[in-house]
């Protein structure tokens, strides 16, 4: 039993390094990927930037998003719910004279179910975004307002022993500022 047990590494610090441009941050992450900070991998890295950098996945590895699944299931739910909602409403028309016309009218219901599909798809996409992007959460940790202007931040949680090698890597790539906070 104890043979398969992993050593638990307690991360004690969260570090934010601010860089003046994306290329420097990219190279710093590339060095982390080359294990220049022992025990730290790119899976521990979070990049914070004023714009989207899809090319960061070249070094961070491909990271997925569940948003399209939310869109798909939301749209499907809207389509099915929309149709059956209308059909159930139309079923009450049984008590009303229809003049020989069908009670549940497929063509008009298709139009309305189509609209419901899109509406629910969009709403589900928004929910997927909020959950997937971990929005509306408190205590997300280190942040600097310069990130919303023109600087790139790299956030990593490390142990005390990893702190100095990490700072050395940051310094190699002309880090502008380093902020750290203790993890409780």
């Amino acid at each position: 039993m104890s043979g398969g047990a992993k050593k638990i590494v307690v991360k004690t610090k969260r570090v934010l390094g601010l860089f003046g441009d994306f290329d420097a941050a990219f190279e710093a992450i590339a060095d982390i990927r080359r294990y220049k900070v022992p025990g730290v991998t790119v899976d521990d890295v979070t990049l914070k930037s004023p714009i989207e950098h899809p090319e960061i996945e070249d070094v961070l590895g491909e990271r997925t998003s569940d948003v399209p699944k939310w869109s798909f299931w939301g749209g499907l739910f809207g389509l099915v719910f929309g149709f059956f909602f209308l059909a159930s409403a139309q079923a009450t028309f049984l008590v009303q004279p229809q003049g020989g016309k069908p009670v549940i009218t497929i063509p008009s219901n298709v139009v309305l179910a189509y609209e419901m599909m899109i509406l629910f798809g969009v709403i589900a996409t928004l929910i997927g975004f909020i959950i997937g992007a971990r929005l509306m959460r408190k205590g997300e940790g280190l942040y600097d307002t310069a990130i919303s202007v023109d600087q790139i931040g790299i956030v990593i949680e490390v142990t005390d022993g990893q702190l100095q090698p990490l700072k050395d890597v940051f310094a190699t790539h002309n880090v502008l500022e380093v902020h750290e906070e203790a993890l409780t």
Binding site: P68, A89, L126, M136, E140
Partner: protein
């Protein structure tokens, strides 16, 4: 000579890619604090027009529908024409933004935000008119699909109910599309604001920190909603056209109405984008972001859509003419020669002839001329909607219903007031929220700069073996 060539290339740029990121933030945030006086004048005029609308509505509420001069055959007239006009106006913003996003046309980035806001507020304006034209405005909720204690539901076979569904879906989706696209910018506003603005932006930015997880999910979200919105926008105006096309009234029962309405919607929306582009550029000193080359592209797009609209118009006329349905033909002839003919020909002049002015580079690059051209294009589109609704109601199948109806002052006040309502909402929006997308302009600048360096790099290595500028450390533009 080479200097001139260089200068013309500089002028042809959609944006200066050397603009610093901090400056982009500063310029846009400044616009929300300190607009030109023209902004306040426009807001004052809008509020005055809106007050006229309120007065007219209260008057109509008290007196009844008589002052609007609506009667048995003319039950829709200017109210529903205006409704169709505003629905059409709403189309270009979201639809073009979504399409241009999918095809990676990055010149949309400085202008899409206000175009999407235009969509939202146009829909909110359009939504007023079906309610106003009811007369008994307090019963508007009857159109909603709720279960009443009488077991009655709306008639789901009616295109008017389809309208309610489609517009509700479109308004909700457009608002969410506008909002989601704005979240990173709201975080920028949060980081630099104080007071009530700080609280507002902190709440609305949802805790955005710009990390790679958030950007990745953001990219997918924006893409998915754009994919949803394109068919939705097309369906909305198709459904609005079915309010007419599903009826058997002469002049309305036309199979080309859905694409005709969609083209008309895009057309009027594009013209409105030009108008608002020029106004915002002036109000907020956005000369560096809302540039002449971008205006040039919007003008060319407007011309193309104008030609599509003209073609569909001619198709409709010829289908009626060769169809030999006598009542429909009579309506068509009456449009061209009857009491409404000045407005019909005004529509043709503004909608089909005036767009040829956009072929002139002088016109496209002249702000003053383009401002008036864009206004007249939309006058043409307003007349188009009026000429769809009213001549048909004047000449139905029943001779006893033949009459000519001119809108009363209440109707005109409502129409004028709707521009005030729209203008007021729009101008308040652009004062409170950034009307130029800061992060997308930064992306535009960043990627364009990269492309330039990569091209130079390749060419230098190819021809001389000398490493290009990319070999040296480059700034992203901001630091």
């Amino acid at each position: 000579m080479s200097d001139q060539k260089h200068l013309s290339q500089e002028q042809a740029k959609d944006i200066d890619e050397n603009i610093a990121w901090a400056k982009i933030n500063k310029d846009v945030l400044r616009s929300m604090e300190n607009p030109r006086k023209g902004y306040w004048v426009a807001l004052f005029i809008s509020i005055c027009l809106f007050c006229v609308m309120i007065y007219a509505e209260v008057y109509q509420y008290i007196v009844g529908m008589g002052p609007a001069l609506l009667n048995t055959s003319h039950m829709w007239d200017l109210y529903i024409s205006t409704f169709v006009f505003w629905i059409g106006m709403s189309h270009s913003g979201t639809l073009l933004s979504a399409i241009l996003h999918l095809v990676h046309a990055d010149w949309r980035k400085p202008i899409y935000r206000f175009a999407e806001a235009m969509t939202t507020f146009s829909l909110m304006t359009a939504g007023l008119f079906p309610v106003i034209h009811l007369g008994r405005v307090w019963n508007f909720y009857w159109v909603m699909p709720y279960m009443s204690d009488r077991g009655l539901w709306p008639n789901f076979r009616s295109p008017l109910i389809w309208d309610a569904f489609a517009i509700t879906a479109y308004l909700t989706s457009s608002v969410l599309f506008l909002y989601i696209g704005m979240v990173p910018d709201l975080a920028i506003c949060r980081d630099s604001a104080t007071g009530w603005r700080k609280k507002l932006y902190t709440f609305l930015s949802l805790g955005w920190r710009g990390d790679d997880r958030q950007w990745r999910n953001f990219r997918f979200t924006y893409l998915m909603i754009a994919c949803f919105l394109i068919p939705l926008a097309v369906s909305v105006h198709s459904i609005v056209s079915m309010d007419f096309a599903m009826a058997i009234m002469p002049g309305w029962h036309v199979t080309t109405f859905p694409p005709y309405f969609v083209a008309g919607a895009l057309y009027s929306g594009c013209a409105a984008i030009i108008t608002l582009f020029i106004l915002l550029r002036y109000f907020f000193k956005f000369e560096e972001y809302m540039t002449m080359p971008i205006l040039d592209k919007v003008c060319k797009l407007t011309f193309v859509i104008a030609m599509v609209w003209t073609y569909l118009n001619l198709i409709e006329f010829s289908a009626v003419w060769y169809g030999h349905d006598i009542p429909s033909k009579e309506v068509l002839i009456a449009k061209a020669t009857g009491p409404y003919s000045p407005f019909f020909w005004g529509m043709m002049l503004c909608g089909s002839v005036l767009p040829f002015a956009l072929l002139s580079k002088f016109v496209r690059r002249n702000m003053y001329v383009m401002f008036f051209v864009s206004i007249f294009l939309n006058v043409g589109m307003f007349l188009e909607r009026w000429m769809i609704v009213t001549p048909t109601l004047s000449l139905g199948y029943h001779p006893q219903g033949f009459n000519v109806m001119w809108p009363g002052w209440v109707e005109w006040a409502m129409v004028g007031g709707s521009f005030g309502w729209f203008g007021m909402l729009f101008l308040i929006f652009v004062k409170v929220f950034p009307c130029v997308s800061m992060y997308e302009v930064k992306e535009m600048v960043f990627h364009r700069k990269r492309v330039i360096y990569e091209d130079v790099d390749e060419m230098m290595e190819l021809h001389s073996g000398v490493p290009g500028p990319k070999a040296e450390p480059q700034s992203t533009g901001g630091a």
